[in-house]
């Protein structure tokens, strides 16, 4: 198969205006991927499937990935004016001096949700080509175009990503929850998902189980409800 750079060039020449970016994979697997902009996704997908040389007719795997907001602490030098008492000719005089100090600033890198597609070609028996797409953020702009019209195998997998990550695939013919029940509210695979307090007594609590047991115990005391003697030692 062509290298990702060649595929990038092929996509760019076939779909004018398409923004494609090579994402290198530093690991030993070296399965590099291409990140495409959602605006041209359908055209690119169509090209990848129908191009006689690539013929990526088999969409094997659709994965959702959550990249939460990252807080990056960085040190910056700031210069500010400080008032100081300086020895003047007639005693102490207040003076403004410039001073440079180190300051730690927290910058929040906005997170996003990502879908990863693994494409193979059955006609040419090559692959995988890894395609990724990102949403704008994790809260309100979570739409991505659905590739189900191009590859039917995305039908259930996109539903699963929608169910567990909350990415809304526009153009999907039947986007409903698939594994969780319809009334369920949250998206369980997101990194910041908080499990409901459905604590069940376990006789060997340590680590997370112990933490959960203690939290549950605290809640019991607040509400005054004790179910059985479910108290961790």
């Amino acid at each position: 198969m062509k290298s990702v750079e060649e595929i990038k060039a092929a996509i760019e020449s076939a779909v004018p205006g398409a923004a494609v970016e090579v994402v290198p994979n530093p690991g030993p697997a070296a399965q590099h991927s291409l990140r495409i902009a959602p605006e041209h996704a359908i055209d690119i997908a169509q090209f990848l499937r129908d191009d006689p040389e690539l013929a990526l007719d088999f969409l094997s795997n659709v994965t959702g990935v959550d990249w939460p907001d990252k807080e990056i602490a960085e040190k910056v030098k700031v210069t500010r004016e400080v008032k100081k008492m300086v020895d003047g000719p007639d005693g102490k005089v207040e003076q403004t001096v410039q001073e440079t100090v180190d300051e730690t600033r927290k910058r929040v890198e906005p997170g996003c949700l990502e879908v990863v597609f693994h494409l193979y070609s059955i006609a040419k028996t090559h692959g995988p080509l890894v395609i990724r797409m990102r949403t704008k953020n994790r809260s309100d702009q979570v739409e991505l175009p659905s590739v189900t019209p191009i590859w039917r195998s995305a039908e259930f997998q996109e539903r699963e990503v929608f169910d567990l990550y909350g990415i809304v695939f526009t153009g999907h013919p039947d986007l409903r929850r698939i594994l969780m029940w319809d009334e369920f509210k949250d998206y369980p695979m997101r990194k910041d998902y908080v499990e409901p307090d459905d604590f069940e007594y376990e006789p060997t609590p340590h680590d997370e189980v112990l933490k959960r047991a203690q939290k549950h115990k605290g809640r019991e005391q607040q509400t005054g409800i004790r179910d059985q003697e479910r108290v961790a030692e």
Partner: protein, 209 residues
């Protein structure tokens, strides 16, 4: 001819039916519980703790390092480490667990605790008839219930147990040789000194298999 395939199939079932009276190959089931198939040597059900010698508490190999507690995927082991130390099989003073519980209603018999244990202290049992009507207390095995002798280990997994024994004996020999060398060195030093002290070559206490 229509129905030929069905007749052929019928002949096949008849062959199997009558064959099951004569051939063990065609009748692989037994009437449990009156009759039992022997358990395979590698079979694993739930873990147990090995002890050496006759005293389960003194001979317990576990040193409460808590590695298995950390690595167990469903987190069903609970260990409390002792404050004091007792000598292990090679005579080295070690911690021991004051509490070692395994919740076998959660345990999934994966054997990872056995694999990660550096002290050959936890092994897999083959006892499977453990049904009880008490979900919490009945299925929570404490260290007394878990402790099984090395002889028992030999009866259920003979090959593996022999390997483990030879490995432990080797280690013990190494430790003893080291101790001896150290003692000799100390003695030589003492001999070089004007007033030779009596050699402090005490045999390692406890343990021994």
């Amino acid at each position: 001819m229509l129905g030929e395939g069905i007749l052929k199939g019928m002949a096949e079932t008849a062959r199997n039916f009558f064959g099951s009276y004569v051939s063990k190959e065609r009748l692989t089931t037994v009437e449990y519980p009156e009759e039992r198939v022997p358990t395979a040597e590698n079979a694993r059900v739930f873990p147990f703790l090995v002890y050496d010698g006759a005293e389960w508490e003194a001979g317990m190999r576990c040193v409460a390092c808590q590695i298995c507690e950390k690595e167990c995927p469903p987190k069903c082991i609970l260990i409390d480490k002792s404050k004091d130390k007792k000598p292990d099989y090679a005579g080295k003073p070690q911690f021991y667990p004051t509490r070692f519980d395994i919740d076998i209603s959660v345990c999934m018999s994966c054997q990872i605790c056995v694999e990660v244990c550096p002290f050959e202290a936890i092994k897999m049992d083959t006892q499977f008839e453990l049904a009880t009507d008490d979900r919490f207390a009945g299925l929570l095995l404490d260290r007394k219930e878990l402790a099984k002798s090395n002889e028992y280990y030999h009866t259920i997994h003979p090959t593996e147990a022999t390997e483990v024994d030879s490995r432990l004996a080797e280690e013990k020999a190494k430790v003893e040789a080291k101790a001896k060398a150290a003692a000799e060195a100390a003695a030589a030093k003492a001999a070089a000194a004007p007033n030779p002290a009596p050699p402090a070559d005490k045999p390692p206490a406890g343990g021994g298999d």
